[in-house]
Symmetry: C2
Subunit: 560 residues, 2 copies
């Protein structure tokens, strides 16, 4: 008993916090309760003759028709009214004709019932009939009831039908009056705020992605909820997921909003609610790009923190500017003001351009240049060896050029992930000279390089591949390593490495080294793609502000 009391108290608390979070919910509940109390009062006030036996219709109408938003209430009420009227008329005609049929009447009625039931249900399940589903349901119900009762009692043409219909109308009228009269909740307003709010979610996710990427945020173990696309607490993830999920909600709200009369700031016949969902869709298109950015963080192949640092300022600025644009757009949509100038994208495009330039200047950081020496050697013997149209592989006569590619693997996080993919867990290479990597390892994570090896790699990568590598020895390439970068230890360990390194592993490790370097480029180009999609979003917002007649901004007079 005490446990039950505790459960009730917990449920009450839950309801209380839930009501505090969105006060419109208890308001809605109070409105429904008011409408019901009014109907009950009406039933009691009138003579309890005809009304009481049919009072179920008024109550049923209130319970069924009273929806959260006004658009939904109107749409359901209309559906219900039309369904009842048409079905009633048809059913009365059928019942009357059956009464003049003699012995076959019941067979006739049953056949008619079957036919109408079949047709109505088939129409109901058609996808295009979704908004009218409820009306068709009411139609079927009313038709069957009136047919049966009308045939049996024969008095349906008279007062009963009228009083019943009257009660339905009373129920609907009370519902509508209470719903619109007291604290109206408009579906259109909801749609407007939902779309505007989502801008902030994408902006937060985007900033989270860029900052997470730059601070080398990593998931110890990626939550399986993300991997199976379920709701999760991760802020970066939930931001864009909410936007993707909002689609169903937006479509539902749109379905209701088009039923609503002009009201509040939406004073216009045929208000362009579709444009709001279009803006929502364009925002979704952007959020998929954020999703791809997040995928770079989730990915197993990661670039080195050092490389990220090189592009840090540019990446950060693009992310920041893009988030600023998103917030600005969201603010404009929320306050229903036009964009003050067409140049809202100028800053972010400039930032993207700077990132592009930086990529161009430092593109050697995005690829693994170590292999190139080989290809050169190959292409000097076979002139078209490296050309676009040649398909012959460069012969592998130059094998071990440089092997600063094996990094100390963290035993806790990475093997767990690797195991999660069904691969044999990697051996933890205890020291830099232990090369106990299973040959069957397929996608070894290459990030998590400790400082010494990282420097070694930085040194290895920072060699611009312009030295005439006629000789294929490794040390020839190291001649020009800027010694200020590579500390002695790293070089020494490199020197000792490449004697022990089996050929196969070297090639494989280098391939992933290449992928690791490239992943930074991927992140950058996805970010640029996001900026490109912003343009599309700005377009959608502008279309909306044209169609919906957004007001001009007042604070900042545009110099037109």
């Amino acid at each position: 008993l005490r446990r039950a009391a505790a459960a009730v108290r917990a449920a009450g608390w839950e309801l209380w916090t839930f009501s505090r979070k969105d006060p419109r919910k208890p308001v809605y509940a109070a409105k429904v309760a008011t409408a019901l109390a009014l109907i009950t009062l009406l039933v009691f006030l009138r003579e309890p003759s005809d009304i009481v036996s049919h009072s179920v219709w008024a109550i049923l109408t209130v319970v069924v028709v009273f929806e959260f938003s006004i658009g939904a209430t109107l749409s359901k009420g209309l559906n219900r009214g039309l369904g009842t009227l048409t079905a009633g008329g048809l059913a009365l005609a059928v019942a009357e004709s059956a009464r003049h049929m003699g012995d076959l009447d019941i067979v006739f009625l049953i056949i008619i019932t079957f036919a109408v039931g079949f047709g109505t249900t088939l129409i109901k399940v058609h996808p295009k009939m979704k908004p009218y589903e409820y009306g068709l349901r009411v139609f079927l119900l009313t038709f069957c009831y009136v047919t049966v009762a009308g045939y049996n009692t024969g008095e349906f043409v008279g007062g009963t039908a009228v009083s019943r219909f009257l009660l339905i109308v009373i129920g609907a009228a009370v519902s509508l009056a209470v719903n619109i009269g007291i604290y109206p909740i408009w579906a259109g307003e909801d749609l407007h705020h939902l779309v505007a709010k989502n801008f902030g979610g994408v902006a937060k996710s985007l900033e989270g992605c860029v900052n997470g990427y730059l601070t080398c945020m990593e998931y110890e173990r990626i939550p399986s909820k993300i991997l199976t696309y379920q709701a999760s607490d991760d802020p970066v993830y939930s931001g864009y997921r909410a936007v993707v999920e909002a689609q169903t909600q937006e479509e539902t709200l749109l379905g209701f909003a088009i039923w609503e009369p002009p009201h509040g700031p939406y004073k216009m016949m045929k208000y362009p609610w579709e444009s709001y969902t279009k803006v929502g869709g364009a925002l979704r298109h952007c959020s998929f790009a954020v999703m791809a950015l997040h995928g770079c963080i989730l990915s197993e192949i990661q670039s080195t923190p050092e490389n990220r640092k090189v592009f840090s300022a540019e990446l950060h600025r693009v992310g920041e500017e893009a988030a600023k644009v998103l917030r600005e757009l969201g603010h404009r949509v929320k306050t229903m003001t036009r964009l003050s100038s067409p140049n809202i994208l100028a800053e972010v495009l400039h930032a993207a351009e700077e990132l592009q330039t930086k990529i161009d200047q430092r593109s050697y950081l995005l690829v693994n240049t170590e292999r190139w020496g080989e290809d050169t050697a190959a292409s000097t013997t076979t002139p078209a060896g490296a050309g676009a149209s040649s398909e012959n592989e460069a012969p592998e006569h130059a094998v071990v050029i440089n092997v600063p590619t094996l990094h100390k693997l963290e035993s806790n996080a990475t093997p767990a992930r690797a195991a999660g993919v069904g691969l044999p867990p990697l051996h933890k290479s205890e020291s830099n000279t232990t090369l106990a990597r299973a040959a069957s390892v397929i996608i070894p994570p290459l990030h998590k390089s400790e400082s010494s090896t990282a420097l070694a790699r930085a040194a290895g990568v920072s060699i611009p591949p312009v030295h005439k590598s006629d000789s294929n020895t490794t040390l020839a390439r190291f001649d020009s390593v800027p010694m200020s970068l590579a500390d002695g230890l790293a070089l020494k360990s490199q020197g000792s490495w490449h004697h022990r390194m089996p050929l196969f592993e070297a090639a494989e490790a280098r391939a992933y080294e290449s992928a690791s370097a490239l992943s930074l480029g991927t992140f950058a180009s996805l970010l640029i793609e996001f900026v490109a999609r912003l343009g599309n979003l700005v377009n959608a917002v502008e279309e909306l502000s044209d169609k919906a007649g957004f007001k001009d901004p007042v604070e900042e007079p545009s110099a037109a």
Copy 2:
């Protein structure tokens, strides 16, 4: 009138084709009709005394409870039954106590109605109560009705209530009997087939993306439906979109499937339907990667066809193998057989590895190497100039190295797109020597290179950057161009270009050249990311086959 007849005929035709496409829909309609006809028959067969006046309850129950799938019917029926019973009991108690209250009875009843209405509605709108929404609605309806009618007539404890409840039970029983007895439609089976079918959709999208990318598929003008994420006919797009959209459906079906008793191939108490939705989620996670791949095709920055050709075989093979794995997994899920060996990923991982190796070998194609000469020159003077930790920009003393970067822009498609982003449309450069590019152009699409310039670029890029570029003149780099690749014209036009090229444009164009080259790398690493996500999907499928007790494959005896 003739127009109306044509409209009716068109609607009939639409219904007919719709029925042909999914024969379960007309079967469902026929089942509903049968249940209704049976109820009508029952009403007629019995004495028309008590039954007829309450027959509405049986009909209402059938119309409301008879859902498409058995799980939905059961869940609704149970909700309805429970709601009616508890509300009836509570209402009778309230009505009885009100009858002993004297003058205050109506006030008491109205207050109670308000309180119950408020509480029930508040609970109903709580998100966790979604599955019980219908039950709460019925509870509220029944409570109000029984309270009012019970108070007024005072005879609710007797036969009326019993016969009414009996009619509801009859309605529910007929619904269930018809629904399960004739051609049962199980939500669980639907869920199973939906999840299995989606594998094929992702596979098709993936192949479409990879093949489209390799054949340099391009959108004349990207459909705005894709940009606002609305349904579209594009096969690549609709494939992955269907998978993303399927989420709502899967969740709904899961909600129904858990109500269903063991049946058919799902003979197990507590069948793990959740695992199906998890597989669906993992598949969705994969389809987001396909979405990102498609984003590469939609992107404005595109790599040259020549570069794509270099990686064509590897990309194609990864795409093909990944699609094969997806189809195999889909087949396994569909036929409910275990994976025959854990090595289902072996082929695709091998293919991905080959792609990695190729990227490693040809990584100079993924970056614009033209700028490097400068950096080299810079780094010989400032030793750490190109290093990871250096922040100083390489001085731009070597400006025009090579400018094979401007390609003939197609006037119809690209300016339209550019305009769509709110940028000034690009001037069509009529000939290769016309350099009339507006300096305000921000993200000019760089693909669409005609054959002559393409060759020129291929030649320009195919120079492995190993030549001692101590001199920064362009022609020095062209000394070693394989003449078999570059036709004379292209070289000539290049020679004439770089004299006219303004410095600013050269730098900008080069930055986008860089982005263009990098975009191929982005596509490749996204493809590899997709392969990594496949591992996660295989895991989910294996978990499902464990929990659901899939049978071992029979055709291929595993060598255990």
